[in-house]
């Protein structure tokens, strides 16, 4: 189990291996910055966070998910700072024996991260304007 808050870009391809031999299902989610928000062209997002609290909370969420769905393993990484359109801001991967708990567990983690992590998003538009979510 590993929950990380980081500034560096996320390389999803590096995060899938290695895995235990009892794993039958890997479900991943990537949240990606789109190039528009409310029909306006986005330059980038800026994520502010309380890094210490967010790190504690993201790991708490993973533990809850593992317990609730009987997962074998789970990773969650949330970027902070500047993230550009096309880049992954949130990556979650869940290893389980069967697929049902994989899908349910992955969804639970993503929903909980969006509800509970002390992270805030600011839109920076191409026209120079900006606004907090």
């Amino acid at each position: 189990m590993k929950g990380v808050i980081q500034r560096e870009s996320i390389d999803a391809s590096k995060l899938l291996e290695p895995r235990e031999l009892n794993v039958g299902s890997t479900v991943t989610f990537q949240g990606i910055v789109r190039n528009t928000e409310s029909s306006r062209e986005l330059s980038h997002l800026f994520y502010d966070a309380d890094e210490k609290l967010a790190t504690v909370e993201i790991n708490k969420i993973l533990e809850e998910a593992k317990e609730k769905y009987g997962l074998i393993d789970a990773i969650a990484i949330h970027r902070i700072g500047i993230v550009k359109p096309g880049e992954t801001s949130l990556f979650v991967a869940v290893n389980s024996t069967h697929r049902k708990e994989g899908f349910d567990g992955c969804k639970f983690i993503v929903d909980a991260i969006k509800e509970r992590l002390p992270i805030w998003k600011k839109d920076h538009f191409v026209d120079g304007s900006e606004s907090w979510h």
Binding site: D48, D50, K52, L53, S89, L117, P118, I119, W132
Partner: protein, 79 residues
């Protein structure tokens, strides 16, 4: 007594600073939050604000002590 306040995201803009020290009476987190939301009324655009005490989320009836580090957050919007 003196407490150290940190503001995050848009609240840092509303307060005009990322941190400040406040002189306060004996009070709960809830009372402190109400005081700060009164000081920076734009925070009231959010129905609630989040508060952490010494890097932990605590019950709002907890009382603050001299030298405490307190963080004030808008509702979260990550992901």
């Amino acid at each position: 007594m003196k407490v150290h306040i940190k503001y995050y995201a848009k609240y840092a803009e509303y307060a005009g600073t990322k941190k400040e020290d406040l002189e306060v009476e004996n009070m709960t987190l809830q009372q402190l939050l109400a005081f700060i939301r009164g000081k920076y009324p734009k925070m009231k655009e959010d129905k609630t604000s989040l508060v952490a005490l010494n890097d932990r989320f605590e019950k709002e009836d907890k009382t603050v002590s001299d030298g405490d580090n307190i963080s004030i957050f808008p509702p979260v919007s990550g992901g």
